[in-house]
């Protein structure tokens, strides 16, 4: 516990008490009134006790501890350690609401509850304290602010079919490729060639179709391969469904935001991909954005999910100058609201490189109430520009999925289309 005596100070109430006591004594003396003099006794005694106590021992230090979450709430315990009479605790909840509570120096902890409105990184509680003593006559110094930082995973939407890349790579996996190999369905009957296994010889076909003695025909099957999925998240914008709240920074009344959808989409795609035995990589499309290399398995999925939950909005000055490396023959999901052209440019670049690119529009369904005429016109304009972006993407062969419109069904419908 910090002592805090060095920076503690007296409140003006001490000087007022001393001055008031003296004044009452003088008035009582002048008017020969013992009752007036007696009225000065309490402030005089109060001041004497206060000065005898001094300004030490009013340091206070807060600690915050995450409690198990439940019922869509984040719970944080705030404990104060202090010898002061009382401690003023300033608590900022979820960066949207500030509260002050005066607690005893060794009292029971405060439990802060914040309803989870958005996924991603957040600070459910920030707390700072100041010790007080002697009815507030001694004021301690403010402590450093401590914070409880959390990452909230998005809810999981099950996806049955994830679109596959144009060319499957590798010789292991769950998807049937076009190349001859092992594990897949029947491909064709082919003349025996060096390297073919003898057990592959189809004797019936040889007896029926061999033209010369010594000809052997083998039964070939397709190979099983795995797919490589790349998730690219655009974190430059975080736009809620309530358009009138855009730019206000009020995420309490914004409704579901584009980054909520992006995190949800990224998690759903990652989970479905790893469940199919495929590899998944994650890239955040800003300078210094996080990247997770391609991998598979439950441990890799846990890393990806943690990275998705920790992905928040990029700084305002962050711009797209980064086109992460994408493994050969990948399907790339570009998750963006596509209000800025940079994400679309990156998607076009990958498409031009021969990858299968799926643009996932994460803009939520918009609530256009409470917009004035100018705002409505402005919204129409930017939405029209967005439509142009989508036209360019579709023209280049980029498939489009709107996450707000039953994404599982849309992905399943395009999953069957092998480009």
């Amino acid at each position: 516990m910090t002592d805090g005596s060095a920076s503690a100070r007296w409140s003006p109430s001490l000087a007022v008490a001393v001055g008031g006591a003296v004044l009452l004594a003088v008035i009582g003396l002048l008017f020969s009134r013992p009752d007036i003099v007696a009225m000065g006794l309490p402030p005089a005694l109060w001041s004497a006790f206060a000065l005898a106590r001094g300004t030490t021992g009013v340091g206070a230090r807060p600690t915050v501890e995450s409690l198990p979450t439940g019922d869509g709430e984040l719970r944080t315990s705030i404990t104060v350690a202090s010898d002061a009479d009382a401690v003023e605790v300033v608590i900022v909840q979820s960066e949207r609401r500030t509260r002050r509570v005066f607690v005893p120096g060794r009292g029971s902890p405060i439990v802060a509850r914040s309803r989870v409105l958005h996924s991603g990184p957040g600070v459910p509680v920030q707390a700072a304290t100041r010790g007080l003593a002697f009815d507030g006559a001694v004021l301690g110094a403010a402590s450093e602010t401590v914070a409880d930082r959390r990452q909230v995973s998005p809810s999981l939407i099950p996806i049955d079919d994830v679109p596959l890349p144009r060319r499957l790579t590798g010789l292991h996996g769950a998807h049937e490729g076009r190349r001859p190999g092992q594990g897949g369905d029947f491909r064709d009957i082919h003349a025996f060639a060096p390297g073919d296994e003898l057990r592959r010889v189809d004797w019936r076909a040889t007896a029926r179709m061999a033209r010369r003695p010594g000809d052997l025909l083998v039964r070939r099957t397709h190979t099983l391969s795995d797919a490589s999925v790349v998730i690219a998240m655009d974190t430059s914008e975080d736009l809620g469904e309530v358009v009138s709240m855009w730019g206000s920074g009020d995420f309490e009344r914004s409704g579901v935001t584009s980054l909520d959808n992006a995190r949800q989409a990224a998690r759903a795609i990652a989970v479905a991909t790893v469940a199919d035995g495929d590899r998944v990589a994650l890239h955040v499309l800003v300078n210094g954005g996080r990247s997770l290399r391609s991998g598979s398995g439950s441990r890799h999925l846990a890393r990806v999910e943690a990275a998705i939950a920790a992905t928040g909005q990029a700084r305002e000055d962050a711009s797209f100058r980064r086109t992460p490396h994408v493994p050969h023959g990948s399907v790339v999901f570009v998750l963006s609201a596509f209000f800025e052209g940079a994400a679309a440019q990156t998607a076009l670049l990958w498409r031009a490189s021969g990858h299968r690119v799926i643009a996932v529009d994460v803009l939520p369904r918009l609530d256009r109430t409470r917009l004035n005429r100018q705002q409505t016109i402005g919204l129409r304009t930017v939405l029209a520009e967005r439509e142009n972006v989508f036209s360019d993407l579709e023209g280049a062969g980029v498939e489009l999925v709107t996450w707000a419109d039953d994404p599982a069904a849309v992905l399943a419908s395009i999953a069957g289309v092998r480009r």
Binding site: S11, P34, P104
Partner: protein, 171 residues
């Protein structure tokens, strides 16, 4: 203290308003019980209200001044003196707390425990002294009773000692 999305769970607590309302209530009770002049009664209440709304103005001490004026216009009385000692003390403590408890805050009752104990301790000392002073001056001549002079001198001496002590403490 629950709102739609954020809430705090604390031990039993009261609102900041309780302190401010207690300040006005004590001042009003003191004014109406101790001050016989109607004008000064309402002035005391208004000043207490000012002190409750803007604690740095120390309006409650203005209310104390009104009560003193009212008491000066009436004869000394033991019961009134004891009540005045209590009222002055409570008003000062509530003002001191109101200075540090901002609007919108909550006060866990446990945080007021030491203040309550201190009020009792100070009153336990001040009330017997008041009784002694009042009884000591009851038979004396009204010009300058010895007890008045002695107690006033003691208070002033105590104040001087406190100020000197405070200056030493801050060096």
């Amino acid at each position: 203290m629950r709102t739609a999305n954020d809430s705090l769970e604390t031990a039993p607590a009261v609102s900041w308003l309780v302190l401010r309302m207690a300040l006005v209530a004590v001042a009003a009770a003191g004014a109406f019980l101790l001050c016989p002049l109607v004008g000064w009664q309402w002035t005391a209440v208004i000043l207490a209200l000012l002190g409750a709304v803007l604690p740095p103005t120390f309006g409650a001490w203005g209310a104390i001044a009104c009560i003193v004026i009212g008491m000066l216009t009436s004869e000394p009385d033991l019961g009134r003196a004891m009540l005045a000692v209590l009222v002055v003390h409570l008003l000062h403590v509530l003002t001191s707390l109101a200075l540090v408890v901002p609007r919108g805050s909550r006060i866990v009752l446990g945080a007021l425990r030491r203040s309550a104990v201190r009020v009792l301790v100070v009153q336990a000392i001040a009330q017997p002294v008041t009784v002694a002073v009042m009884l000591g001056t009851a038979g004396a001549t009204p010009a300058l009773p010895w007890a008045v002079a002695a107690s006033a001198g003691a208070v002033v001496a105590a104040a001087v000692l406190l100020i000197v002590g405070a200056n030493r403490g801050t060096r």
